[in-house]
Each structure stands twice: as structure tokens, then as C-alpha cells.
């Protein structure tokens, strides 16, 4: 099997056993990039030269017999909203097309310390607003399983890169499903950790109270390894949780006996693909057969979560994105005066969806509407959170589909923002509640991967990993690889 199709933990063993070198591995992934990038278009910026420098350093360590981390020398990809010192960070927006941060995000620092190799910065929906990567200010990314389809989003480039073998692992960010949904669409494992588990310092904000960084990997084991590296308190992020980070690989246990699963009926919405529903039910049956217990539960405020999200996230975004004004960084269009400059700059360089959400959020916060929209949405958020609190009094995990359908065709929902927003209906409540959730492959429909979402209570990542690992070990869905680039 080609090197680029392996998982990080497999490759780590081969590196340590000196069967391969980090440079060889990096080369293999970069050659793969050259072969398929034209079709997939996962990357906005590739950092080829630096990748080799990083790989050589790892080879030197191995040669000296030094211990290395599991991600050392393993090529990965970073979503382009994670700040990288000296490497442009665009958020897939024209306004930041030339922005080079003078600092690294905390997660990037942690990965550098772990000697990870960076292939590049991946495409995304502009400022992480979207679920298909069609809102990129640069180009569309294609789903490696079917190039006519979207890879999901907003971390579509990260998911596509890992699915296509252009990276072994990747980081994404998840505000309403932006890690889990593309992971589901691309047949990968994606986790949104508990809000505050991973430092957001250096993650370009979309909706600060919802954003969270997490891994997109080929299996649950890699997910645990990446979590071990990126989780933890950060003095630079006041909202990061100050508790010890467990060794998540200790939860890689093939055992769900006695695990109490809740299945919320509200998540099986109208418009759900029957094949998706079938796959979820089959997965539950399987887990029950493995010793888990299952019951139907009710989360009555689920139906309001989407609306609340589309008030709260845009409200925060309207404030977070106000700084893109052409004054001291980013692109500028000159104007007759400062107001004119603001208008021309933002009109020219922000995309349609970003403008839509800024307007939505500005409206929701305006005098006279603030209480009716913003405050009400905050109350709904509390109710949604209470739904989860109550559910977790009786169950250990909640299982739902990650998305109501498999990946849709590029352009299919482009003119229907509401249909697009509906793709997030199963993932959004998780962000509102701040709880962790993982998406894992659980089947195929028409050749496209289906994602199973497992949700746990705050800081319940270990439970998620155990449940997901058990399911994975009893199935082969994660072993599938798209036929992309192969001679047919």
C-alpha cells in the first residue's frame, strides 16, 4: 500500500523502525499532492520547502535515537484560519489574501514542538462560514470520493486533503459542524472537542463562543494522538479549560459493555436521506449487540437550535470581522475618505455569504432588535444546553447522524442558503451546548460515505473515543480509500 494511504500511528511505527524516513514519507505525500491536487484543490498555500526542513530534522532525531512524538515527521494539513508565523493565513478570504501573521497559533506551536510536518494551509469556506467550501474566496474544493460533489465545510480542504492522501492528518475548526460534517462527507474521523479543551489563540475567529479546533484523521487512534498534542490550558486563551489532559490513547479500548446510548428522535428530521437513517440504526444495533444499552430520548429544543445559531454566530461574526477594514492589515481599496475606504474595501474583498452573515448579525444586535433576536437566541441556547444536561443524566452518549444526507453536488445548494444551513442541523446543537462530539464513518450511500455522530458530556472525549474505537474495530468503513487518481 502507498505510504500516503496509511494512518499516522502506522507510519510512526515504520519511522521508528527505520523502515522509512520522514523525508521519504513527506516526498510521497507531496508527490501525491502533485498527482491529485488539480482535481481536488484542497490547498490554498503549500509549504513544500519547509516540510522537507521539518522532515529532515525528524530524521536527524531518529538517527540519534531520540524519542519522537507520534506525529513527528508525519505530514499534515492546517486549515487556513490557523495563524502560521511567516506563512500567509487567508481564511479563504480575498481580504486576507496577502496576510502573513507574525505569530503562530497555540496549536501550531504545539504541533511544531511535536515535530509534525506541515504540507500546507487548506481551503475552507471564507472565514469558516459555510458547509461546502463553496464559499471560499478562491476556488472550490472537490470531494475525493466524487469530484462532482462538495467535500463539506467549512473545513472542506482539510477533509479532502486527508481523504485524497494529500495529508495524513489535518486540523480543522468547528463552529456549527465544520469538522464533523466534512469528515462525514469524506469518510473520515473528525472531532470537535469540548469548548475550551483546545486553545483558540491564533484561530481566526468566526463566532468566538462556538469555535473550537479539532482533528480530522483516518481513524480514531490518530484522533486520540492528535488530541494528546493539541489539548490543554493556554494562558493566552481565557476560555481554555484549566484541567489536566488525560492520555486519550488509553481510551482506545474495544469495549462498550454497559455504555448507555441515547437516540434523540428530534434529530431524525424531514429531508433526511433514508439510507443515512438506515446506516445509523444499523450502527446502533451493532453497538447494542456489543453490549451497549440504548434508549430513545427527547431533546425538545432541538428544533430551535438552528435559528438560534443563525442569530448568535452572525452576531459575534459581525463584531469579529469588523477589523477587516483596510486600515492596518489586509487589503485596502482607497476611498475619498475613511468611511468610503471602509465601504469599498469590504465590498470588494468580502464574499457574499460573509456579507450576508455580517448583515444578519448586525441586525440582530441593533437597538430595537437586540432583545427580540439576540437575547432570545441566547435564551434558546441555554435551553438547548439544558436538553443536553438532562439527557446526560440518563445516558453516556447521544448518537445521531452527522448530517442528514451524504455530500451533495457542487452548486446544488448554492442559491438556497436555507437548504445549505439545514446540513448543520445535527451538529449545531453540540456547539451551542459546548459539548464534545465525534463523527466516524458508518457506511456508504451511493458510493458516498455516511457519518455517525457520537456526543458526550463536557470533557467526555474519553467516552467518545472508546465508543468510536469500538465501532471502528468492528467495522471496515474507515479502511475505504477513494479511487481517485488510480488507473481505472
Amino acid at each position: 500500500m502507498e505510504l500516503f494511504k496509511h494512518t499516522a500511528h502506522q507510519l510512526h511505527k515504520r519511522l521508528v523502525n527505520k523502515e522509512i524516513s520522514a523525508v521519504e514519507l513527506t516526498e510521497a505525500v507531496l508527490i501525491r499532492c502533485e498527482a491529485v491536487e488539480e482535481d481536488v484543490q484542497a490547498y490554498i498555500t503549500k509549504t513544500r520547502d519547509n516540510a522537507f526542513v521539518q522532515a529532515q530534522a525528524v530524521d536527524a532525531k531518529i538517527a540519534q535515537g531520540q524519542a519522537i512524538s507520534v506525529l513527528a515527521g508525519i505530514p499534515g494539513a492546517l486549515k487556513d484560519n490557523l495563524c502560521t508565523k511567516g506563512v500567509r493565513t487567508t481564511c479563504a478570504s480575498q481580504i486576507l489574501a496577502e496576510f502573513i501573521p507574525p505569530y503562530n497559533a497555540t496549536v501550531v506551536e504545539k504541533l511544531i514542538t511535536a515535530d509534525a510536518v506541515f504540507v500546507g494551509k487548506t481551503n475552507m469556506d471564507e472565514f469558516a462560514m459555510g458547509g461546502s467550501t463553496e464559499n471560499s474566496g478562491f476556488f472550490n474544493t472537490h470531494n475525493p470520493w466524487d469530484l462532482a460533489r462538495v467535500p463539506g465545510g467549512s473545513s472542506g480542504g482539510s477533509a479532502a486533503a486527508v481523504a485524497a492522501g494529500q495529508a495524513i492528518w489535518a486540523l480543522g475548526s468547528d463552529t456549527g459542524g465544520s469538522i464533523r460534517q466534512p469528515a462525514a462527507y469524506c469518510g473520515l474521523v473528525g472531532m470537535k472537542p469540548t469548548y475550551g479543551r483546545v486553545s483558540r489563540y491564533g484561530l481566526v475567529a468566526y463566532a468566538s463562543s462556538l469555535d473550537q479546533i479539532g482533528p480530522i484523521t483516518r481513524d480514531v487512534t490518530d484522533c486520540a494522538h492528535v488530541l494528546n498534542i493539541i489539548c490543554g490550558h493556554d494562558a493566552k486563551d481565557s476560555t481554555s479549560i484549566n484541567t489536566l489532559v488525560p492520555d486519550y490513547t488509553k481510551s482506545l479500548v474495544n469495549q462498550v459493555k454497559g455504555l448507555k446510548i441515547g437516540l434523540p428522535r428530534e434529530y431524525f428530521v424531514a429531508g433526511m436521506d433514508p439510507e443515512v437513517e438506515r446506516a445509523i440504526n444499523k450502527a446502533i444495533e451493532q453497538l447494542v449487540a456489543l453490549g451497549a444499552e440504548y434508549k430513545e430520548i427527547s431533546m425538545p429544543h432541538t428544533e430551535y437550535a438552528l435559528s438560534a445559531y443563525y442569530m448568535l454566530a452572525p452576531a459575534e461574526a459581525s463584531s469579529n470581522l469588523a477589523r477587516y477594514d483596510g486600515v492596518s492589515f489586509g487589503r485596502r481599496v482607497e476611498g475619498t475618505d475613511i468611511i468610503d475606504m471602509y465601504k469599498k474595501t469590504r465590498s470588494a474583498y468580502l464574499g457574499a455569504e460573509v456579507k450576508r452573515r455580517i448583515m444578519l448579525g448586525t441586525y440582530a444586535l441593533s437597538a430595537g432588535y437586540h432583545d427580540e433576536y439576540y437575547l432570545k437566541a441566547l435564551k434558546v441556547r441555554t435551553l438547548v444546553k439544558q436538553d443536553f444536561d438532562k439527557a446526560f443524566e440518563n445516558v453516556d452518549v447521544i448518537i445521531t447522524p452527522t448530517a442528514p444526507t451524504t455530500a451533495f453536488k457542487i452548486g446544488e445548494n448554492a442559491n438556497d442558503p436555507l437548504a445549505m444551513y439545514l446540513q448543520d442541523v445535527c451538529t449545531i446543537p453540540v456547539n451551542l451546548a459546548g459539548v464534545p462530539a465525534i463523527s466516524i464513518p458508518c457506511g456508504f450511500a451511493g458510493g458516498m460515505p455516511i457519518g455517525l455522530q457520537i456526543i458526550a458530556k463536557p470533557l467526555g472525549e474519553e467516552t467518545l473515543i472508546r465508543a468510536a474505537y469500538t465501532f471502528e474495530q468492528n467495522n471496515d468503513y474507515h479502511k475505504g480509500f477513494p479511487t481517485l487518481g488510480e488507473v481505472k
Partner: protein, 481 residues
């Protein structure tokens, strides 16, 4: 019609923490432009604020000193508006849950005491500074931004509309300044912008309750401006009302040079700040025990110090108030007393010669070239009779410029007072001999005549003769004659 003036003040003060409110950058004033900056205060994509705990502590200190309730749960909010000195285009401030609320402050104007309500005290970040290319905004082709000040911690102290004259507003501001200085939380330099004041002012027919339409006056950059600006605005509003006009709610800017205020924007143009809870900061939880610990650690405040100066030093209320209005002045007095000088004498020197010299040079007591110890030594020389009061003034003059100790100057210039009666008798006799008419007048009962003779004797002795001895010796010798 007789109108009552209604004034409320919003005071902004920069806190003198070493670092900024949300990052580690220096708060030093006057650094080279854009050198005290980092990704956080520049608002670069992806950065997050982290609260400087010192700011919270200072805010609690001020809240407690202003008799406020410290909220156990307070939070930061974003105040959204576009301005190029604000890199994020929002200011992180406190909106509905400020750190301190419902306090008060006692002031006194012309001997009348008054209690002014303090609505709230909240923490926020300062903005940067625009440097326009031309002389005025409108004549400038471009503006540059200096972000050094961006993120310097500010406290905003908002009063109730409890002041009814520009004098009261000035007294309130002076009291706030004194308290902030005593708490050692701010430099309070209005000229450097570390203390700023906006005023809301309206008129209402005397004896009525409802508030009239107010105008907000900005750019009141000195105590003098506060009083003058408000006097101007009260007169302007009265004129409008007397002519049957209507006050429009607006923001006006005070032009100290021209002595007028001009309209900046009216109510319709007021910003909608779209306040939003700051999602990047966690709420500030203040334990009541912490508040009590801070309360217990507060230094002596102006009112308490005034009382102490009256009680311990026997100063008049007027003198005590004048001296305690400035912490440095009161410190100077206390230090002088510690050096064994009589408090009243030090106070008189402070309000007399010292203040005169400070005012002449436009410097504050902190920069006084004569130390409290030096002044105490000078006073000791007077007490011992080594020099007279009059000579002491010239010695003080000399100390001010030469920085030398009083004793050194007295020795160098041979200014030691003549207290040897035989030496004085010699001069006195000569003066009596030279001024027979005055002697005759005195003996005829004209008490005034002795003044002239004393003056002559002092002149002859080059001011060094002990004046008391001169006086008594003159009387003695004239009777003998």
C-alpha cells in the same frame, strides 16, 4: 425664568499599571510611535485578550473608595463602532454588569457640603491616537495612527446628574483626582490625557423635577475648561430657552482657545453600539472577602486626611482642605512634620512660598527642588533664632535655585541672626541718635513711630538683627533717653 443647572460627569482615567489591560505591552507614555504594540493590541486576526489582574484590583480599589457596591459577578462587553484608532473596530468595555455601582462622593463648594452620586465604575481599553497630516482634520490629506495607547487600561467613572453648578462639577472632578492619586492608581495628568472628562448638562426651571434635554460636552481638558465650558453651555442653553427655543440633544466639543463649544453630532447621528458580551473573556468573579481585604488595605483618603490634619496639627478646615486636595502636598506636610517641624508652620510655607514658586515655574509639588527635610531644617533655623523670618524667605529663594541646605547658605552668606544684645544696642543707639523726631513722636505716644525705627535698625543690621530684640531694646533705650 430662573433655571437650575443639572450636570453629570463621565470621568475617564488611565490606570498606571505597567502593562496594558489585555496584553503584556508597556503602558509607558511618550514612547516612540507604534513601539508598545503586539498582535493582541493591534487586533490582528486570531488574537485573544487576557485580563490584567492588576486592572481589576485597581478598579475594586476605586470602587470601594467611591463607596460603591462591588458586583460579585461582572463581565466585559464589546462596544462596536468603526474608527481608525480602534484596531478591532470595537472597544472592550463593560456594559450592563460593571465592576462597581451605586457609590457617592462628598464635595464642598463655598463651605457648603454636598453628596454626589456615583452611578458606576467600569473597566475598558483605551483607543490609539490619530496624527493628522495637516493642522486640522479637514485640511489633512491623510492621518497616521499611533497604537501605543491602544489597550492602556481605563476606568470610566459615571456620576449621577447631581451637580448644580460648574463650580460643583469642578470640585467633584478635583475630588475624584485627589482620590485617584491617594489610591495611587493613576497619574491623573489632564494635559497628558490620563484624566479626561465629558459632561452632560441640562437646565430646568428651578423647583421642577423632570430633567431638561441635555447636551454632552467633550474635550474638557483641564479643570479650567470644565468650569468655563459648563458656564458657557449653561449660558447658551439659557439663552436658547429664554428666546423660546428648544435644546436639541447633541454632542458638543469645547474649544478652550475660542472659549466656545461647537456641535459635533445630534441624537439622530448617535452611534448604535450594538453591545455584545465579550466572548473571549470569562466573567469577573469577585469574592466578597477580596473586596474586604482591599477595603482594609486602602490608604488614608482625602477626607480622612483632612480630618487628621485638623485634629492632629490644628490646621483650619480651609487650610487642611487646600493641602489634602493634593496627595503630594499632604505627603510633603507629613514628611516635614516627621522632620520635627511645626505642622502649622510647614503648612504656611506650603501655601505661601512653596506654592508661589511652584506656580511661577508651572511644576507640581512632586518636582519641588526643596525637600520636606530641607524645609524643616530651614524652619528649625528660624525657631532657634538663627535667622529671622524675613531672612528665611531669601534663604528659601536661594535653596530653590542652588539646591543647597539652609544651614550652608546661612553660613556661606553670613546671615546668622544677631541675638547678641550688646551688638544690637550699638545699632539701636545709633538709630535713636539719627532719628530724634521719631523718638520724640514715640515718646509723645505715637506708637506707630516705633515701626519706622525698627525698620531702620533692621536695615542697618542688613536684616540680621533679631526683630523681637530690636523692638524691645528700642523701647528700653528710648525710655532711658
Amino acid at each position: 425664568m430662573d433655571y437650575e443647572i443639572v450636570i453629570g460627569l463621565e470621568v475617564h482615567t488611565e490606570l498606571k499599571t505597567h502593562s496594558k489591560i489585555f496584553c503584556g505591552c508597556s503602558t509607558k507614555f511618550g514612547s516612540e510611535q507604534n513601539t508598545n504594540v503586539c498582535p493582541v493590541c493591534l487586533g490582528l486576526p486570531g488574537v485573544l485578550p487576557v485580563i490584567n489582574e492588576k486592572v481589576v484590583e485597581f478598579a475594586i480599589r476605586v470602587g470601594v473608595a467611591l463607596n460603591c457596591k462591588i458586583l460579585p459577578f461582572s463581565k466585559f462587553d464589546r462596544k462596536n463602532y468603526y474608527y481608525p484608532d480602534l484596531p478591532k473596530n470595537f472597544q472592550t468595555s463593560q456594559y450592563d454588569l460593571p465592576i462597581a455601582i451605586n457609590g457617592y462622593l462628598d464635595i464642598e463648594v463655598n463651605g457648603v457640603a454636598k453628596r454626589i452620586g456615583v452611578t458606576r465604575v467600569h473597566m475598558e481599553e483605551d483607543a490609539g491616537k490619530l496624527v493628522h497630516s495637516g493642522a486640522t482634520i479637514t485640511s489633512s490629506d491623510y492621518a497616521l495612527v499611533d497604537y501605543n495607547r491602544t489597550g492602556v487600561p481605563l476606568l470610566e467613572i459615571v456620576s449621577e446628574p447631581d451637580m448644580s453648578s460648574p463650580e460643583e462639577a469642578k470640585a467633584y472632578l478635583e475630588k475624584i483626582k485627589a482620590i485617584l492619586e491617594y489610591l495611587d492608581v493613576s497619574d491623573c495628568k489632564m494635559e497628558e490625557g490620563s484624566l479626561r472628562c465629558d459632561a452632560n448638562i441640562s437646565l430646568r426651571p428651578r423647583g421642577t423635577k423632570p430633567l431638561g434635554t441635555k447636551a454632552e460636552i467633550k474635550n474638557l481638558n483641564s479643570f479650567r475648561s470644565v468650569q468655563r465650558g459648563l458656564e458657557y453651555e449653561a449660558a447658551r442653553q439659557e439663552e436658547v430657552l429664554e428666546e423660546g427655543g428648544r435644546i436639541i440633544q447633541e454632542t458638543r466639543t469645547w474649544d478652550e482657545g475660542k472659549g466656545i463649544s461647537l456641535s459635533m453630532r445630534n441624537k439622530e447621528q448617535l452611534n448604535d453600539y450594538r453591545f455584545l458580551p465579550e466572548p473571549d473573556l470569562v466573567p469577573i468573579i469577585v469574592d466578597p472577602a477580596r473586596v474586604e481585604a482591599i477595603r482594609a488595605s486602602l490608604p488614608e483618603l482625602p477626607d480622612a486626611r483632612k480630618q487628621r490634619l485638623m485634629k492632629e496639627y490644628g490646621l483650619s478646615e480651609y487650610d487642611a482642605a487646600l493641602i489634602t486636595a493634593s496627595k503630594a502636598m499632604a505627603d510633603y506636610l507629613d514628611q516635614g512634620v516627621q522632620c520635627h517641624a511645626d505642622a502649622k508652620t510647614v503648612a504656611n510655607w506650603l501655601m505661601g512660598e512653596v506654592s508661589k514658586h511652584l506656580n511661577n515655574e508651572g511644576i507640581s509639588i512632586g518636582a519641588c527642588p526643596v525637600s520636606p527635610k530641607q524645609l524643616a531644617e530651614l524652619i528649625a533655623l528660624i525657631d532657634k533664632g538663627t535667622i529671622s523670618n524675613k531672612i528665611a524667605k531669601s534663604v528659601f529663594e536661594d535653596m530653590w535655585t542652588s539646591r543647597k541646605d539652609a544651614e550652608v547658605i546661612v553660613k556661606e552668606k553670613g546671615l546668622v541672626q544677631i541675638s547678641d544684645s550688646s551688638e544690637i544696642i550699638g545699632i539701636v543707639d545709633a538709630v535713636i541718635a539719627a532719628n530724634p523726631q521719631s523718638v520724640a513722636d514715640f515718646n509723645a505716644g505715637k506708637e506707630k513711630a516705633i515701626g519706622f525705627l525698627v525698620g531702620q535698625t533692621m536695615k542697618q543690621s542688613k536684616g540680621r538683627a533679631n526683630p523681637d530684640m530690636v523692638n524691645s531694646l528700642l523701647r528700653e533705650r528710648m525710655i532711658i533717653k
